[in-house]
Amino acid sequence: MKRRVGILYFILIVSIVFLVVLNLFWGSSSITAERMWEILRHPQSADLYGVIVWEIRIPRIVEAIFLGGALALAGYLLQSFFANPIAGPYVLGISSGAKLFVAILMVFSYELAFSMSSMMMVIASFLGSCVAALFVIAVAKRVRNMAVLIVCGVMIGYVCSAVTELLVSFADDSNIVNLHNWSMGSFGAASWTNVRIIIPVVCLGFVCSVLLSKGISVYLFGETYASSVGMNIRLFRFCLIVVSSLLSAIVTAFAGPISFVGIAVPHVVRTVTKTGSTKTMILASFLGGSAFCLLCDWIARYLFAPTELSISTITAVFGAPIVIVMLMQKQGRKS
């Protein structure tokens, strides 16, 4: 079992490196290896390719790595929280909550004529995530049924979309364009300014997750047991939901809602490694999310280049079948 984990880490790191290189080279305009080497050695060079690589491609790669990891990690934390392998920020409607709050912020910033900073986006997104998460928790307390929880999440998604649409119909044209692009989900808006916020927030979320790992491993046995070994259940649940909301909020704030990464990645990692260790799950999910998002982002850019697809289109194509298979397995095991 330990070996499987080692192999997975190896594969993940190799594929991340490969995908980084791929993303670096492969784009709307092609760059030779020698030229690339030059550009990388002289970051300050002001020619067009230098700008493309340093101002567009590299921030975008960094975002994909960190936000993809954050998304997968948020999914894993939510699955632990709800004791439900199909939980994830997107299906539970948490991303939709974040989207709604960001949309509100976008529209109001125009109406009230203040300029919107990245930090404000993150905060709005975080608040939206928390509100949606609290709602889902309230439902989960009443029903233990996995499917009901998902349906509830989907409904939250619809409600949030409806309200967002409402805002759009009252918003100014330019805002609509922004909002629309953003709500499709994309790493296209990557910039160093964003990366400077993303890296510390995701790192904070990751460290908190590692600190929660001891708790998660006991929490898996049920609340009663966890509390009997001396865990402060309320505090733990609070921390878990804050950290997972934070992680999914940062993704939504900068890349819009991205579907299925939160469910699919931890599931694949768990199935491949067959590990119950929470620390392994945290690190492997993070790396898996990074690799998966790099891949999907590359496909989104490359497939119909120069037209760029929304990243959710790609993640859904890969992720949704995995979720369906999981549901079928669950049902199969019951009968």
Binding site: S217, F221, Y225, S227, S228, G276
Partner: protein
């Protein structure tokens, strides 16, 4: 210090108390087992002891400290738990699971130290799970899982372990070996263990102390296994039909029943007088009723009492409790409302050798006669408690015996005749029945067969049902007094009274009545509550017949199907004897047909018993009313009042008339067709044409209703009946009681009787 102890603990969820009065303690090295029915609150107690639930009231102490004051980590280092619960442990190895027990010892990241590892391995070895340490936990069998979970609880290095039904899903081998491990933990590791269990035989073997929790959520008893594991007590706690347990379970030796009930009523407040008979139907019930009325007339507060009745006929009190009818009649004579304390035990025969046992008005189960004989001494406290209650409302309590006190094969453990006289220290009047002959032999023979001590309790003899010239009897009485050494307290003449009878031994079945209007009551083998029809006896020109033959059916002006103790088997009886087709034929020509309770169910299309309330299965009914009945486990018992709604056929005139009565049945009847009218309120009865069915017993007990029915029958027959004499049944009965009392005063030595009770007049 090493002790978990509770003080005035109330345990429950969100202000809802589940278990009350929890007072228990566990010491180091001790095994305490909680037993009780499902839902009694065992898990709630365990969770509260573990600190997982806040006590609603009171305190849980660990040593001298309240559990609340301990930090979570301190608590976890002292108490570990093993509960049934969900877990999502996919891909976790056994070792990982057990390592979870070290939670409160490891650092922030949960890294296991060498000591931790040693302790985990030791725990795995102790519980015999070491071999499986690298296997995936979810793939283990239930038995292996429980061992691993025990190892996990052990890895916590606690001083106390709380286990919630740890053996419930294990096979016998795993159960036994699991308990051995638990025992070892207590003895060798000096861990105090509290666990709940359903396997009583095993609990008996493993426990040092047993805590019993009742279904109502009360800690009933805390004691050594020997004290608790007595079949009768366990039957009570788990609400098992008395005697049933002994057939399957054995807790060592069943104690021999004590030969003589030795309990006595402490600190008696009322005066007692007991009436015993030389045989069944010697007239005890009426003598008691007459005495009640006499004492009432003399200004005493008086109550009747009979410890145990055996009768099919029962009465439902205002509280919905079931009691014998004889005491109801006597209470009426005493001028008070009947209550269940007047008859704490009621046996309703269900077959030749078995009865339904009703204690304090509630069914506790069915029992074979043999088992009841063993069991009944357990009911002595109930009898004494009932008398204590009656004492609150009576100066004199007149007690009725049952059958004969000289049944020498049954005298052991008697709780109806001399046993009760002994408990209550009551003087006894012995009643003989001269009408059946051999009254001297009855009286002297009975006295002869009594023990000396019992004989001394008999203070007077009564010759009952005398007809003819008393002067011829007198010399015999003198000799009787001489031979028996007991004075004759009275010679009571034969009286014809229209009062309710006690049980199926009643003479009324044999009576040949003549009248212009004939009502036939089908005498079902398990006929119940036939006092419903006593009301007809006072109607001049009306004759009632209890019929069993098909020929009699057609000559009747009305047929009544009465209630039954066993509807399905009585329905089959109707089919077997040809009564079914006789009744169908009778009804086909629009003759009046009334069904009450079980009889009503029989009128319908079918009666089914999916739960096996009676014998199980399904039987087709007479198919005369479009209804069907499903017997359910729940017994309906209630007193009802209402008005006739839309009676059909010749009873149309009853519409709007008020009735009073009671319902007592197991079964739900549903209507199958629209072509049916409502008969009684609350969907309790329906009718069509000249066929009526209702669940309401006692519905006939009022003058307007009886008059209405009999008039309708007479009119249909084209005759005129003078019904002016028919007065309200209740008023009629009052007159009858007075008549009874007057006659008894005249023929009995009341001063002697008062003297027996220590009352001077």
């Amino acid at each position: 210090m090493a002790e978990i102890r509770t003080e005035h603990l109330k345990a429950g969820y969100e202000r809802k108390i589940v278990v009350d009065q929890v007072e228990l303690s566990v010491k180091a090295g001790e095994i305490v087992v909680l037993i009780g029915p499902n839902g009694a609150g065992k898990s709630t107690i365990l969770k509260t002891l573990a600190g997982l639930l806040e006590p609603l009231d009171g305190t849980v102490f660990l040593g001298d400290t309240s559990l609340k004051e301990l930090s979570l980590t301190q608590r976890a280092k002292n108490i570990s738990v093993m509960m049934t619960g969900r877990n999502h442990t996919e891909y976790l190895t056994v070792y990982d699971v057990v390592a979870g027990g070290r939670y409160c010892y490891t650092d922030l990241l949960g890294k296991l130290s060498e000591t931790d590892k040693e302790i985990i391995e030791e725990a795995l070895r102790t519980t015999g799970a070491y071999e499986q340490k690298d296997l995936e936990f979810t793939k283990l069998s239930d038995g292996q899982k429980q061992r691993v979970l025990l190892a996990r609880a052990l890895a916590q290095k606690p001083r106390f372990m709380i286990l919630d039904e740890p053996t419930s899903f294990l096979d016998l081998g795993y159960k036994l070996s699991f308990l051995e491990i638990v025992k070892d933990l207590a003895r060798k590791n000096q861990i105090g263990i509290i666990m709940s269990m359903h396997e009583l035989e095993m609990a008996h073997r493993v426990a040092d102390k047993v805590v019993c929790i009742t279904a109502e959520g009360r800690v009933d008893k805390v004691g050594a296994p020997g004290e608790i594991f007595v079949p009768q007590y366990i039957e009570r706690i788990f609400r098992i039909s008395p005697g049933l347990l002994g057939q399957t379970y054995h807790f060592g030796k069943i104690p021999n029943p004590v030969a003589q009930v030795s309990e006595r009523l402490k600190d008696p407040k009322a005066r007692f007088l007991m009436v015993q008979g030389t045989m069944s139907s010697a007239g005890k019930s009426l003598i008691v009723a007459g005495l009640c009325r006499i004492f009432k007339q003399d200004g005493y507060r008086v109550a009747p009492f009979k410890s145990q009745n055996m009768a099919l006929n029962s009465y439902i009190t205002e509280d919905g409790l079931e009691m014998g009818r004889a005491q109801v009649m006597q209470a009426e004579a005493a001028g008070i409302k009947p209550n269940v304390y007047m008859n704490p035990i009621l046996l309703k025969p269900t077959s030749d050798s078995g009865s339904q046992i009703i204690v304090n008005g509630k069914v506790i189960g069915n029992m074979r006669a043999k088992d009841y004989f063993q069991y009944k001494t357990q009911l002595v406290p109930d009898i004494l408690a009932a008398v204590k209650e009656l004492e609150k409302q009576a100066d004199i309590i007149v007690i009725e015996g049952a059958g004969s006190p000289a049944e020498i094969n049954l005298k052991k453990n008697d709780i109806v005749n001399m046993g009760v006289a002994n408990m209550l220290d009551a003087p006894v009047l012995l009643v003989g029945d001269i009408d059946r002959g051999g009254v001297f032999a009855q009286l002297l023979g009975t006295i002869e067969l009594l023990e000396e001590e019992e004989r001394n309790r008999v203070k007077g003899l009564i010759v009952n049902k005398f007809r003819g010239d008393k002067t011829i009897l007198d010399p015999g009485l003198v000799m009787l007094e001489e031979r028996g050494g007991i004075p004759v307290a009275g010679v009571v003449p034969y009286m014809r009274l229209q009062l309710e009878d006690e049980d199926s031994l009643s003479e009324k079945f044999d009576r040949k009545a003549e009248g212009a209007v004939q009502i036939g009551i089908i005498k079902l083998p398990h006929i119940a509550n036939f006092t419903d029809f006593d009301v007809f006896e006072q109607v001049p020109g009306l004759a009632i017949h209890y019929i069993t033959g098909t020929k009699e059916v057609e000559s009747m002006d009305m047929i009544i199907l009465p209630g039954s103790k066993n509807t399905i088997s009585d329905m089959i009886w109707l089919k077997e004897t040809g009564m079914e087709s006789a009744i169908k034929k009778y009804s086909a020509t629009d003759n009046p047909l009334l069904g009450i309770c079980g009889g009503y169910q029989m009128l319908g299309e079918s009666i089914s018993d999916p739960l096996g309330v009676e014998a199980g299965g399904q039987v087709n009914g007479l198919g005369i009313l479009p209804v069907k009945t499903v017997l359910a486990g729940e017994k309906h018992r209630s007193q009802v009042q209402g008005h006739f709604l839309t009676p059909t056929g010749i009873l149309e005139s009853l519409a709007g008339i008020a009735y009073e009565g009671y319902e007592i049945h197991m079964g739900e009847t549903t209507v199958l067709s629209d072509e049916i009218s409502t008969f009684t309120e609350g969907e309790s009865g329906y009718c069509r044409g000249n066929v009526w069915g209702t669940y309401v017993h006692g519905i006939l007990d009022s003058a307007p209703i009886v008059k209405g029915i009999v008039n309708a029958l007479a009119k249909r027959k084209g005759i005129d009946l003078d019904l002016n004499q028919v007065i309200d049944y209740k008023a009629r009965k009052e007159l009858e009681y007075d008549k009874l009392a007057d006659t008894m005063r005249e023929y009995m030595d009341m001063d002697l009787i008062y003297g027996m009770m220590g009352i001077k007049r």
